[in-house]
C-alpha cells in the first residue's frame, strides 16, 4: 500500500505572553507514515497536538521544524489540495449562505461546472443525512449537528483521494453518529483514505485499521489497532463463563490455579485465568461439579485502557 501522508520530524512551537514571550511546544518531532486506502485514527487527549498536526497538514499554520507530504507533494503545494478534503473540528461556515449555496461555492473553487456542482451537492447532502427541506436554509439557522453534516459534505465535494476529519462525530446524536460512521466506512470501500482524529474510542474501534496515539505533542504509539490492543502483556487473560454450578462450589478447587478469580453469576459463574493452559483445567473442574460451558473468550486490553496508558 502506498504511503499517502508522510510526516517527518514535525515540530510546532507557539509563543505565549505579551511582554515576556514564552515558547510552548504543541508538537514535538512527530514522524509518521500513513498508508493509503485505510481509515487511520489519530488519537490523543486534549492538547496532545492532534488538531495542530492536521492544521499544519492543511497549511493553516506553519511548522517550526520538519516537513510533511501528502500524496507525494509537499504540503505547501496549493495544487495538491485539489486531491484532498478537510472537515475542521466544529466547522463553521458563512452565516448568510444556504447549505446548497455553500456547496456550489466550494464546488466552483475546485473548478467544477455548475451542473456537476449541483449534482454533487444533492448527492452529498443526501449522503450526510441533511433533510432536503434544509438545503435552502441559511446556515445561521443550523444546529451544531447540521453544520457538522454540511462540513462533511463539503469535504467530499471534489471526490478527494484522502480526507482529513477532525472530530467528525462532534455534535451528532447517536443516529447521526451511526450514519456518519457508515459514510466513513463507505469511503474506505471506495478507496478513499480517511485520516480522522476523534475522542470517541468506540468509533476508532469500529472504523480504524491503524492508529497513532499522541501524548504531549509526541508520538506515544502507532500501528495496527489489533496489534496495539493485543500487545497487552500482563493484562491479557481468558474469561470462562459456565452455568449449572455455583461460584462457591468452584472456589476451593480453583484456588490452586495461580491468578484464577471466580465471580458469581445469576445462572452460574465467571472465571478468569491469566494462562491459556489453565482453561482446560477449569473446564474439567466445572464438569466435575456438574457445570456446563457457556463460552470462553480472551480478554483483550480495551482501547480505553490503552488510551489511558499511552496518554495518561
Amino acid at each position: 500500500m502506498q504511503t499517502v501522508v508522510e510526516i517527518e520530524n514535525l515540530t510546532k512551537d507557539y509563543e505565549v505572553g505579551f511582554w515576556k514571550k514564552k515558547k510552548v511546544r504543541a508538537l514535538d518531532s512527530l514522524t509518521l507514515d500513513v498508508a493509503g486506502g485505510q481509515i487511520f485514527g489519530f488519537l490523543g487527549g486534549n492538547g496532545a497536538g492532534k488538531t495542530t498536526t492536521i492544521k499544519i497538514l492543511m497549511s493553516l499554520i506553519f511548522a517550526t521544524e520538519g516537513r510533511a507530504r501528502i500524496l507525494g507533494e509537499d504540503i505547501s503545494n496549493v495544487a495538491m489540495r485539489r486531491r484532498i478534503g478537510y472537515c475542521p473540528e466544529n466547522p463553521y461556515f458563512y452565516d448568510y449562505l444556504k447549505a446548497s449555496e455553500l456547496m456550489l461555492y466550494f464546488g466552483e473553487l475546485f473548478g467544477l461546472d455548475k451542473a456537476k456542482s449541483r449534482q454533487k451537492c444533492e448527492e452529498l447532502l443526501t449522503k450526510v443525512g441533511l433533510a432536503e427541506k434544509d438545503w435552502n436554509k441559511q446556515l445561521r439557522k443550523f444546529s451544531k449537528g447540521m453544520l457538522q453534516r454540511v462540513g462533511l459534505a463539503q469535504a467530499l465535494i471534489n471526490d478527494p483521494e484522502i480526507v482529513f476529519l477532525d472530530e467528525p462525530m462532534s455534535g451528532l446524536d447517536p443516529i447521526g453518529r451511526r450514519e456518519i460512521r457508515e459514510l466513513i466506512a463507505g469511503l474506505r470501500e471506495k478507496g478513499t483514505t480517511v485520516f480522522m482524529s476523534t475522542h470517541i474510542l468506540s468509533d476508532i474501534e469500529a472504523l480504524c485499521d491503524n492508529v497513532a496515539i499522541l501524548r504531549h505533542g509526541r508520538l506515544a504509539a502507532t500501528g495496527k489497532l489489533d496489534e496495539l490492543l493485543s500487545d497487552a502483556g500482563e493484562t491479557q487473560s481468558f474469561e470462562i463463563n459456565v452455568k449449572g454450578v455455583a461460584a462457591d462450589a468452584l472456589r476451593a478447587d480453583l484456588a490452586h490455579i495461580a491468578g484464577a478469580t471466580v465471580a458469581a453469576k445469576p445462572s452460574g459463574a465467571n472465571i478468569q485465568v491469566s494462562d491459556e493452559r489453565d482453561v482446560d483445567r477449569v473446564l474439567e473442574i466445572t464438569r466435575a461439579h456438574g457445570g456446563r460451558l457457556v463460552n470462553v473468550q480472551p480478554v483483550r486490553q480495551s482501547l480505553e485502557e490503552l488510551f489511558v496508558r499511552e496518554t495518561g
Binding site: E6, S59, G72, E73, Y94, E108, D159, G191
Partner: protein, 272 residues
Amino acid sequence: MSTQPANPEAVLQSTFFGRILTIARNTFREAVRDRVLYNLVLFVLLITASAIFLGELTAGQEARTIVNLGLGAVLLFGAFIAIFVGVSLVSKEIEKRTVYAIFSKPIGRAEFILGKYFGLCLTLLVNVLVMGVGVTLAILYVGGRELALTIWGAIFLIYLELAILTAVAILFSSFSSPALSALLSFFVFVIGHFSASLNELAKNLGSAAAVYFFRAIYYLLPNLSNFTFRTETAHGLAPPAAMLAGATAYAVVYVAILLIVTILVFSRRNFK
C-alpha cells in the same frame, strides 16, 4: 510514495482568475445580504433629499448645496463602508474560522486577498453608483441640469479614494485586531486628506528630524487630496482629463503596493 493521483478525474481544473472571481462574487453576495449597507445608502439618500430643502434657504444656490452635501455624504459613508467592511472582511473569516475550509481547498492566500478586495470594490461601486444617482436626481429636481453630469467626474475620484481606503483597511486587518485596524484606517483617511499640508509643514520646519518625519508620512500615506474635487464641481467645473488619468494611475499603483504588502503579511499568518 504516490506521485500520481489514483483517480485522475478527481484532479479538477480552476484558474487563478476564476478562483479570484469566485471569491469576489461571494464577498459581494455577503455584502448584498448585509442589511447595514442598505441602511447606510438609504441614509445618504435621505441627506441628499434634505439638502433640497436646505438649498431653498440659500436663494439660487440649491444645486450647489446639494452637490456639496451630497458628495460629502457619498465620501463619508463610502469611507465608513470601506473601513468597516474592509476590516471585517478578513478578520471575520479568521475569527469565525471560515478560512479553515477555504485554505484546505486549492486557494492561495494571494487569491483569497485579491478576491476579497475586488469583491468589496464591486460592492462599493454599486453603493457609490446608487448614491451618485440619488444626488443626480436631487440636482435635477432643483433644475441644475448642467451639474447633474459634471458631478460624475468627482464621484469617480471618490470611488478611487475608497478603493485605496479599502486596500488600507484590508492591509491593517491582515495583521491586527478589527478595532485597531479600523482606528488606523480612519487615521490614514484623515491624515491622507492633509498630507499635502504635511509636506508644506515639513518645508517650513527648522528641525531636520521633523522634516524627515513629516516627509516620510507624506510619501508613505496616500495623498487623498489628489481625489478631492468637490468644491470645484459645485462651481460647475469637471475634473480635467489629465487629473483623472493621474489620479487613476496613482490609485492603481498605490493599491497594487498595498495588496502586495498585504499578501506578504497574510501569507505568513498562522490561523490558530
